[in-house]
Symmetry: C2
Subunit: 384 residues, 2 copies
């Protein structure tokens, strides 16, 4: 749909601003850029990434379609068009970023982007049977709400995204709540956009494969004093403590006060990816009584945190009642994920204390391709 909308946008711009252009800019020679398409889906699920840059001396691309994130060179043709063909790729949604002579550049032909806290990436769609679960299909859609609230814990305005299921607006039902956490460098727009959480929920609900639920996607990126500098255990600890407070003292009370929820352990789930998985472990082992469903995607305790975890979480780890209060403790990761070691050490710690969990290892690494799949597997297990 993006390509179509894009062409419409161009036409409408032409229609309504055309004469401004005519009035203000001198006529120019047509260039290969005028008709260039990027990304361009070819046969056999290959994709051409193309850029018109006649003056550039080097153009590279990195994207999460790569198994190793090594910049790939585009080659220049006689018309000044740089291109590289990738694939065949498994149909999916992929992110990529161009670099032109050392300058990080969004593909000028592709307005579809993923927003991070500090950077942008382009998104490309390669539709196919494998993407049906996450496509925008003609099924009833829930609403994705941007919600600003004032956080006393952080002393600032904070935003979260809240998915309410189809029928919520007209109904009176009270719903279970699933807290879904993003990874490092992202914000609360991660899961609703590149994570396709709304469409994944819509499709599962339409197929009767999930219980209707409210999905709360907070901003898990905590403000830290610049003085905390580069990675260090103190900063990790401070960030972890801040997020637990934000979720427990600000977000959960706001959600349970504002929406039609079932505010009890049986109807609360939490899951997160990478940093969000780490935050999920922290919240779950700090307040084990709050959530019956726990999901940890591509994560674990790492660095200094693994050493302190056994002490910090002693109460939960040694609580004989911990397991019976968890209907689901789900750990999933790709076999090539760079946090696999942290993940294994974390499972070893849980094993040592007879904490029960289900473990699934998939192909691939630390990618949204995996996280969308994990969400699609996790949601049907909730609130059963």
């Amino acid at each position: 749909m993006n390509r179509m909308l894009t062409s419409c946008g161009l036409l409408i711009t032409a229609l309504l601003l055309g004469f401004q252009t005519l009035a203000q800019t001198p006529p120019r020679q047509p260039t290969p850029n005028d008709t260039l398409k990027s990304p361009k889906v070819l046969t056999d699920n290959r994709v051409a990434i193309q850029l018109y840059a006649p003056k550039a001396s080097e153009v590279t691309v990195v994207g999460d379609f790569m198994t190793v994130m090594k910049p790939l060179n585009l080659t220049k043709d006689a018309n000044g068009v740089w291109s590289v063909t990738v694939g065949p790729l498994k149909p999916d949604y992929y992110t990529y970023t161009l670099t032109v002579d050392g300058v990080r550049t969004m593909d000028p032909k592709n307005p579809v982007i993923k927003q991070g806290m500090s950077s942008l990436e382009n998104v490309m769609a390669l539709p196919g049977a494998e993407t049906v679960f996450q496509d925008n299909r003609p099924v009833p859609h829930g609403e994705l709400r941007q919600v600003w609230y004032q956080s006393s814990t952080l002393g600032m305005a904070r935003r979260m995204h809240v998915y309410t299921p189809p029928g919520y607006e007209k109904g009176t039902t009270k719903y279970p709540v699933f807290y879904l956490l993003h990874g490092g460098g992202d914000d609360d727009s991660g899961w609703p956009t590149v994570g396709r959480a709304g469409f994944i929920l819509d499709n599962l609900l339409a197929a009767g494969q999930a219980k209707p639920m409210i999905v709360v996607m907070p901003n898990g990126s905590m403000p830290l004093p610049p003085s905390s500098g580069m990675p260090n255990p103190a900063a990790m600890q401070q960030m972890r403590a801040l997020f637990a407070d934000e979720l427990l003292k600000e977000i959960m009370p706001y959600v349970e006060k504002t929406y039609r929820t079932q505010p009890n352990r049986e109807n609360r789930a939490i899951a997160g990816l990478s940093m969000g998985g780490f935050q999920t472990l922290d919240v779950t082992l700090t307040r084990p009584e709050l959530f019956n469903y726990v999901g940890v995607f591509s994560s674990g305790f790492f660095g200094a945190t693994i050493d302190e975890a056994e002490t910090k979480y002693a109460r939960a780890l040694n609580d004989p009642g911990f397991n019976k209060n968890k209907k689901l403790f789900w750990i999933e990761i790709g076999k090539d994920d760079f946090v696999m070691d942290a993940n294994k050490k974390t499972m070893a710690l849980l094993d040592k204390h007879q904490i029960k969990y289900q473990y699934k290892e998939t192909a691939g690494g630390h990618t949204w391709t995996n996280w969308r799949q994990y969400l699609n597997e996790y949601v049907p297990l909730l609130f059963r």
Copy 2:
């Protein structure tokens, strides 16, 4: 806040992905880019736009802070950092785009962007007393909802944004509805993002200067057959007809069925900018009985459409009851706007038929700076 969040994002990325970088990329020399900030707000409301591009031969910027959209050259220092200082500027939110050796480039140091149908622009904030009306302030906030619906008229899934005022979620009140239309090349995300519609409504409501209302921001960019080619009256007419049908047959029934609305003329308002103003004129003169409040920002009939308007809208133009059914017909435009001629011709047509309207001419041109101001002036006049 963006700058702070950005630095947090960077820190968190470092914290959680840092060792991936360490593990996978060889150590490198620090570059001036590591500490570069762009845009950088200087004293006296001047702003430095900066880019590290040692290999580039030309870097330019265009932005809506310019009175004439003529590319401005950045200059390169000995470290390969290109920069230009603009201003002093009136505190506001501005869009800009960099071009590096002919390649349109988003500022790699600024993740804040405005999404168009076919292109992106960077957004920079220059806060001050003049921006208070549109800032994210500690007042009660409404919710901004992304709503997907299936359009029979267009035979596709369509998205709109719906603003519900503070208290909507917990209340039982029925609200008036304001349909707010974007301009050519934008989509339904225009008003909620660069248009700052949510914050403008929040601030007016907190100050008691507006009636609580639902604001519906549809996607006004209509899909057209590629065959319709470049600007021509037939394509204009088709697009206009499509939007009127989409609004009247799909969007309004969906909104009045789904939300707690007061579905009558006294409680319906419409306004739009540029293309959206044109669509507003079309809907209002086609179905004059539907809206008591009409706003036309930086627009008018232009090209072939002015000639056909008198015929097409004869019924409304010659209806002696037209004026009494309009509590407000508001036309506003900047004196330097390139559609001023179309605007004047449109007012002449209304005058000829004794159609009453209020006209306000401001400084400036065809910019979001004006449209946010116009929204802030128009909303307090509604539903009185």
